[in-house]
Point group: C2
Chain length 248, copies 2
């Protein structure tokens, strides 16, 4: 039973999130149905991280054990054919055979996210559901400068969902950058792992800086408060993209 | 009654096309309903060019006569509010007051289109309906070189829909470029005006060059045949974007 590593793209709008749930369609259920259709056996899949409802992926990583010996390009093509037939907005970008000790979640050394804000007076037509619309001008440079307060090892309680199941609120944020590309403000971040809603809570708080309501000192005070109520609102899921996960 | 020029973005997937039709929702009907909701009167709108079902716009231009004297930013915000309430994937990017002799279609000096092809083995998840998926590798440089055969004044009968209502098949193509940006192949073209399906027929034929099935000489022969059957298939609407229209 070779272990297969899949790199996945999906449009989060159709799903209740990565994880199989009773209350609606999940990416995991769509993927597992396609794998079942291909190989005739139910194969549980494991992702590098769970994404929430509405969150997209450009390069989610998942693994499963394949009960046959097809070459990787056949695995990719067959799963894609089944996803396509089922009209699921999920695509396998790559399939690779990995060692039995590979685990998409536990072997993962880091994750990168992108958050897209479209910053213009007009609401979104083409990008609806795929970016956060902020009508008032954002100062991306001020956001970037303030964001550096969050880089490094901190107690991120102020940016953690109340429902977060992580044992510790201590995380090391490796990078957090804010850049403007035309009318889009792109926030990119990476870390070994993130707390639940951490990226969206950081973005929602950085928006306060971008709108001129907060200074970098206000952001630092919110971090040091270790209180979710001290930071800004959770940015919508629409703008969040799981970009990649990396391994040894 | 000031005349208002609107610059519009829309997602063509929801519509039977720009033009009001009996068989489904149109961009024009959505826009006119929003204008009616805002100003309380039915105001006919006129676009620089009709887009087909599934074709998107980044900068369509339309005009109408407004039966009141609001400043342009109020017009934009009010129409957008009504479009947004109706959950229509249409947005007014700009509203400008223009002279009474302005006509979005008849004053138009040129139109530009973008056609997006995603060229990769995996089907589209995030870009489904917003690009043409071509799995086999396309040679964008060969496409660009061959495309120059089509630039200039020609009889474009070979690239014209049978249903095209234009009086003459003679058109002057001002530019046609093909560039690769990562896994996306972007085809950009501009002209004073285009025949029905001309861009999609040019793209479908250029794809034959990109796949190595046709040479630039084959493309020239297809043009000179003045016969729709001599050129390639019509590329799907998914990848086509009306980019802008310009005026004096």
């Amino acid at each position: 039973m070779p272990r297969v590593k899949l790199t996945l793209e999906y449009d989060g709008r159709s799903f209740v999130g990565w994880q199989r749930q009773d209350n609606g369609p999940s990416v995991q259920a769509a993927l597992e149905a396609a794998i079942l259709g291909y190989c005739g056996q139910a194969c549980p899949t494991f992702a590098s991280g769970r994404t929430d409802a509405g969150v997209h992926a450009l390069g989610q990583v998942a693994h499963f054990d394949l009960p046959r010996d097809d070459p990787p390009h056949t695995v990719r093509a067959a799963i894609n054919a089944h996803l396509h037939m089922a009209r699921q907005p999920v695509a396998v970008l790559a399939a690779d055979i990995v060692g039995d000790d590979f685990h998409a979640r536990f072997s993962c050394l880091g994750r990168a996210y992108l958050y897209r804000v479209v910053n213009r007076p007009a609401p979104l037509a083409l990008e609806a559901g795929r970016a956060w619309w902020v009508a008032r001008p954002l100062d991306a440079e001020a956001m970037h400068a303030a964001a550096q307060v969050l880089v490094g090892r901190h107690d991120f309680t102020s940016f953690r969902a109340v429902a977060c199941q992580s044992k510790s609120p201590l995380k090391t944020l490796d990078a957090l950058s804010v850049t403007r590309v035309g009318e889009t403000v792109e926030i990119r971040t990476q870390a070994r792992s993130f707390l639940h809603h951490q990226v969206r809570n950081m973005v929602g708080t950085l928006a306060l800086v971008g709108l001129g309501k907060w200074t970098a000192d206000d952001l630092r005070a919110a971090l040091e408060a270790r209180d979710r109520a001290a930071a800004g609102a959770t940015a919508p899921s629409d703008g969040l993209y799981f970009v990649r996960a990396w391994y040894e």
